[in-house]
Amino acid sequence: MRHIISVLLENEAGALSRVAGLFSARGYNIETLTVAPTEDCSLSRLTIVTRGSNEIVEQITKQLNKLIDVVKVVDLSEAAHIERELMLIKVRASGKDREEIKRMADIFRGRIIDVTESNYVIELTGSGSKLDAFIQAIDVDLILETVRTGVSGIGRGDRILKV
């Protein structure tokens, strides 16, 4: 089962490597990991997408809580939540492909944010599967470069992760 775990972490040197080290040391899998400071710059917010049985995910949250730098942990996928990922994708855009790619970007509600004679950079946000679908939808030979941020997530409604 796929789980999205959100972590509030002391924004200190080495704190991120404690989290990453925990996953590798205990053999847990990380699909994506995003991290940045919150509005309170002494805290970082991490979103980790992982896969595992309920037992494994229970251990992951317990082990994360045990890290001294970890302030709070929540499994977002336990209840209603929103997830988004940002992708920047550079594609070859010349000749007849130029129009086709523009149309495809529009269909996926992407924005072209850089244009040269031969290529576009498209910005696309959405769930990971939407970004996957976009990649599937265009000719693989046209893709020059992709950059994805990994998933960020937040609980719906009154579910708030805060100190």
């Binding site: 251990q59 045990k66 001294i68 730098d69």
Partner: protein, 564 residues
Amino acid sequence: MMTGAEIVIRCLQEEKVEYVFGYPGGSVLHIYDELFKQDQVKHILVRHEQAAVHAADGLARSSHRVGVALVTSGPGATNAVTGIATAYMDSIPLVIITGQVPSFYIGQDAFQECDTVGITRPCVKHNFLVKDVRELAMTIKKAFYIASTGRPGPVVVDIPKDITAAKCKFEYPQSVSMRSYNPVVKGHLGQIKKAVQLLLGAKRPMIYTGGGVILANAAEQLTTLTRRLGFPITNTLMGLGAYPATDRQFLGMPGMHGTVEANMAMQHCDVLLAIGARFDDRVIGNTENFASLPRKIIHVDIDPSSISKRVRVDVPIVGSVADVLDEMQKLLDAEPGQPQIADWWKDIEGWRAKQCMKYTMKDVIMPQYVIEKLYEVTGGQAIVTSDVGQHQMWAAQYYKFDEPRRWLNSGGLGTMGVGLPYAMGAALANPDRQIACITGEGSIQMCIQELSTAKQFRLPIKIINLNNRYLGMVRQWQEMFYSSRYSGSYMDSLPDFVKLAEAYGHVGIRVERPEDVEGALRKAFVEHKDDLVFLDIYTDREANVFPMVAAGMGLSDMILAEDL
């Protein structure tokens, strides 16, 4: 204004640290200079940094204090890693101060630089790199706080040399509060009530306790509760001494080399009360075959991640073992009844009647016999340390520990070489006790250099070297599972340990006949009471540790000595 080095020493004084085990080097010279100028904190100079951490660990295990080690940067820190990992696996509270190259050199591959915080990260409870002298005192305060609260563990404080020279105003914080670290103490009362009801209704109850009871100083509460309930009890390798081993309710140690009665009672119980224990693979074997009858498990532990890690439990209770036991006792005091479990005891006595620990005397010295004689000669009152291997198991099986903090060994990491440094730490923390280090000719050579430290500080340790001229536990596995191909397990070219002990200025005695064992032990403990005595005891070469549950098997699949 004080320098960082002065602050380090002042902090140790404030924490009432009596002994620091260490080894000097470039990055800690300022700190050593401040150590020199005072006499409240005594420095014990070891001969290898690994032993500094082990000795601090031995002091902590034998005294319920935080052990402190001080080592230099680079190799000083990397040598300390084995000691740190050993303490981490057994949840021992330590503060390890490591020197670091000056902060403006960090990352430049400076002389004796290593990423100490990075290297130790997976084997510490927490670590710090101090980047500002103004944070030094608070960091050390936090280190002691984190090491000694919750589930204890080692904490490393890495201090660059320039920080030890920089100056600031010193004020030792009286308290610490950390938003990200608030260990739970009180157990959930509803869960505790549920647990007590289960215990009172049990037909085949069993109590299984681990190192957590020792760490929580809760042996007395455990004993009272167990006697009140009249239940059988087992203590793991790390938990020995939490309940008197000479008491009838004690079934011996469980696990790979546990007794038949302890293992069978674990397997056949209907209610298992696990306290401060973690269902380790060496204790319960294969989880699929563990206690597969319908049963309920109550698990008390201060670390939530220990609960339902290997075995699903029915009543989890997160909290300090001492606090939870107090609450349980209160509830039991209000209940007049005692569970009727005479039939269960009949089953247990049936298993006990197998006498799984009996062994046959030969014309050579049996290692089990040495431990039994050691128990007699020391009146069961010694602090016993061990290394890792067959001798460790025999010590755990045959020396009956009636009190906590008398048995020190590396249970989790299984580190050979801990025995002598543990004995040093224990001897310093317990100057009035007899200290016996039970070891083997393989293990003792892993920290043999500490014979020199023991001489310098006049530590009257008695080393009981069960010398079978084999790496015995490895040889036993090779005999049983590798058709007796003794690959690498024969110790050729052994030193003459008697001469070696004498070379270090100690007393050495060789014992080769069973009838000489007791006399030699008496000579060591009585005549040479104040000396370090190295008893090199030639034991049966191919004696094996039984009972045995092979790795990956269930606890019911025990191999007994008589089966072979």
